[in-house]
Amino acid sequence: MILTLLILIPALAGIASFFVSSAFLRRSMLAGTAVLHCLLTAAAWVSAPEILLNGWLALDSAGLLFLSVSSILFLASSVYAVGYLGREHQQQQISEEGFIFTNTPESIFIACLQLFLSAMTLVCASQHFGLLWVGIEATSLASAPLIYFHRHQHSLEATWKYVLICSVGIGLALLGTLILTYSASMIEGEGLNLVLGQLLLNSADLQPQWLKVAFLFFLVGYGTKMGLAPLHTWIPAAYSEAPSLVALLSGALLNCAFLGILRIHQVCIAAGQSAFSCGLLVFFGLFSMAVAAFFIIGQKDYKRMLAYSSVEHMGILSLGIGLGGTAVFGSLLHLINHSLTKGMLFLAAGNILFVYKTRISSDVKGLLGRIPVTGALWVAGLFAITGAPPFGLFVSEFTIFKSAITQKHYLIAGLFLLLLAIIFAAMSYIMLNMAQGENSEPVKKESSFGIIPPVILFLLTLLLGLYIPPGLTDILNSVAFIFGGA
């Protein structure tokens, strides 16, 4: 019952939002959906949800972990969205270049937000590779109108890039799915079945060459969606143009795509091809980090900077999984931490954008003086995202680093550390310059809708840095075990 509700509630609420005319009702529906979804996810932690459609849909520990992260982030963003839509409701706005544009009608925006949640839930719960594909494609379709919220030229460019690049990527993943089916079809006597459990059972019989090709397509296809370099190009454009709810894209959507890669990795491990898949994951991980570091240095637009930071962290995730051993645990912990921290930073960036009306970081000065709470969050967020103690990201990055050292991958460990240091220096230069400086304007009162969600996300990251609850450790361990960790 839980699982059915998890998928159906946001979907139905989303469709209903198209037709509700009262803005108040619509916004409360959004908040209500978010709260319900969160509660149901919590219920799934207590009692295991049912299995649907002959095992096509089931929430295993990995799915549950990813779902929880998405759900928390969605709750935070939807509370933020209620405040955001409140102040954005005037229909015509003047952009930076001085031309007039209108926003997407709010009903479409809210509806897509909820459909997006439903699609993400489907991704987390699907055990069937075909269904997984349908879910991931649905997330990109539902999120396209979110990016095109401000109807003007730049966001149009961003959305076009997003839709086209992601669709091609996802098309390649479909090709990967087909190839995987083909490699499974060589099993004598078995019916063709792409359910994860059955594939794992018969993994030894999968045709190894085809499986490798399938993994490549999956990595490239879902990697596009996840933002692994060199196919990350849509991320900076989309993130800088979309409203701050992009927190959801970065924190939850990228994870969903990552889950797609992890599922095929799981099959590869079971089939004894883990050396191949791990090597690729490590390579793409380091490459993404390097590309991100290169573009963060001297980045003028602070939302773009955050976007490249997402590319970097996706690289870290992939690196951690590729290394294996305890690094898998670190990588999963990193996933939670990154989502929470990045969510908070994007929401804070939204507050900054609202007050200063510019995305150019050199035009923003004296954050701490003008909007003290957001300013403080911004500085704290800087240290959290770059992995300084005592935040959660420090723990997870350190775990990955330690694992690389104990496995005697000194070169990888060295590169990892070097890139992290570069990114730390570059980001702190940009972000601290924004926070400090003279402030001539009076202190502005900040709305509680814009403050409470990022503060809560921030406290959660801090908590994970200091203390990981034993229940979470258990589930992280079990998930890490699935994905080849020790």
Binding site: W133, V134, E137, R151, L156, W160, T181, L192, Q209
Partner: protein, 207 residues
């Protein structure tokens, strides 16, 4: 299969957009008959009637897409792709190279198939290449959308060439997603046109 090959070449060579749309309509219709052909050749018992699937594809690819695209075409008032990044002659040459490559690749990989898969696989890979090539080499938004449909067709042929029986649910999910995708592309082409007075994506670049 040979017809499919030829449609790809004519797509690469034609500059008139309405001709392009006619060609992909034709391609869609041919593809729709593939599931039925597959059954004829192999006598595999599908868990659902292949005719149903053929019907769904025929409606989406043979009727809905062309109508949508034609509609967009009328509203944006462009007739031909004027300045592609790669010229038409060069496109054909690249097409030939891609085709040779596809046939070569298919000889290298282990197959356990029937005659259908042996002939259809290279064509499928070639179609995928053509679609990707159209996406990167053309400037107009609508041509890129057409390229995407070609790419999707290629993926689909690939699936049927390998005799993959996915379940009906997944097939319909895939088709539905592609449908919405094209729908969104169509709407966006319209918006791009309104915002810029042209649908050249090359000019979308940030100044």
């Amino acid at each position: 299969m040979i017809i499919l090959l030829l449609t790809n070449f004519s797509l690469l060579a034609s500059s008139r957009l309405d001709a392009c749309i006619r060609i992909i309509t034709f391609q869609g219709i041919i593809i729709a008959f593939l599931p039925i052909l597959t059954v004829r050749e192999t006598h595999i018992i599908f868990s659902y009637p292949p005719y149903l699937l053929a019907l769904v594809i025929l409606t989406v690819k043979g009727i809905v897409f062309p109508v949508l695209l034609k509609h967009t075409l009328r509203s944006v008032k462009v007739r031909r792709e004027i300045e592609p990044f790669v010229g038409y002659g060069a496109s054909i040459v690249i097409g030939v190279i891609a085709m040779t490559f596809s046939f070569w690749v298919c000889r290298q990989i282990p197959l356990h198939g029937t005659t259908l898969s042996a002939s259809a696989l290279p064509v499928a890979i070639f179609t995928v290449f053509c679609g990707l090539f159209m996406i990167v080499s053309r400037v107009k938004a609508i041509t890129q959308a057409i390229g995407y449909i070609v790419f999707e067709n290629g993926v689909y042929v690939f699936g049927s060439a390998l005799l993959i029986e996915q379940s009906f649910l997944v097939e319909v999910g895939v088709i539905f997603d592609v449908f919405v995708m094209v729908f969104i592309l169509g709407i966006m082409t319209f918006h791009i046109n309104r915002a810029f007075d042209h649908i050249n994506t090359a000019k979308l670049e940030k100044k």
